[in-house]
Amino acid sequence: MMQVRSIDAAQITEAVKKLFMDMNYFIGNDILDALRAARENEPSATAQNVLDQLIENHQIAREEEVPICQDTGMAVLFVEYGERVVIENGSFEQAVQEGVRRAYIDGYLRKSVVDDPVFDRVNTKDNTPALIYTTIVEGNQIRILGGCKGFGSENMSAVKMLTPSAGVEGVKQFIMDTVKYAGPNPCPPIVVGVGIGGTFEKAAMLAKKATLRPINTSHPDQRYAALENELLEAINKMGFGPAGLGGVTTALGVNIETCPTHIAGMPVAVNICCHAARHKETVI
């Protein structure tokens, strides 16, 4: 049997801190390549100008190590925790929260979390709590996929409990309606994360995870991969364009994640993400 491994809590804190600082300063190459390709593709001068500004912005953020966008989001982590890992000198939960706290304080990231959603709305001043979704897996490693999403795009997201008779047409319709409703608000060009199947909350989690997947990857099932491409093309015909000022690039990518579901259901969630699609993975 695989050996039990001990990991010091401080090592987890350091890894999480670095993860969130890096993702906020350095955009992924998948996004950068897509922005450059879109720049070549856009006929209108306004759209070209917007894309030039976005590409230059990424260069500045990288050089100066400042956040790409002032909205450095609420921190979300999908963790695969190897069952043969033991944490020394602290707890996993606290080590992760401390890592997020230090990233946001030491890394000059904006603190955007309030303690109570309805009544108090007082800023927690260190961007905690981070939201941690953990799955226990075999092995003695910890894999962390982190994301920080601004709420300009988060607010444009939606879940719908479709039923089986809606079929693929119903799925497409709901995704298109959600993107259309979002219009110019979520900082297009956007990344569309779609979760299909599972239960109400599972669909939403899958959609979030889909926004954290590089846009130059496809769903492993050919039928869904084709659907990703078809939707991307249809969304780009909507005409919102960069910053909503018109153009042929409303989305940079559509990522679909799926999961088995109930005989009576076909939940669909659409998590809209802006062009500042910040995510990063680390293995400890």
Binding site: N49, C69, D71, T72, L109, G152, P184, N185, C187
Partner: protein
Amino acid sequence: MKKITLPLTDEVIRELHAGESVLITGSVITGRDAAHKRLYELIEQGRELPVKLDGEVIYYVGPAPAKPGHAVGPAGPTSSYRMDKYTPALLDRGLKGMIGKGARSQEVIDSMVKNGVVYFAAIGGAAALISRSIKSAEILAYEDLGTEAIYRFEVEDFPAIVVIDSYGESVLVK
């Protein structure tokens, strides 16, 4: 590119048309969700505001903290529609321009036409780039709100696009 200097006069506003790219120089105030709510409540109660709105341009922004040696951290626009509920009351108090991103409600557009106001968009997500045109930042009110406080920014050649002009014309794709 057209350069404009603040404060905005009625003549300048009338010559700004939807679709034009501009570079803005001068002094703007900032405010977003929480500050708008407070200003609106004071107006409703008929009380005095901590900042004067007359003739001002407001930028919807919650900047990231400034690194040492920087005047301000990355400071791109936030979505304007969340301010829509409060905006007509502010325009009635003399606010002349707004900088944000995304769509506005019909009530806001009607109030812009009535009051002769222009709405600019800055490019959402170009925050590090935009912050280079912000030369200084000073807190004017609501320091307790942190990033949501009302600041005064001195800006120089701040890149923006007229998206809804004072005639109610818009270039945003519907």
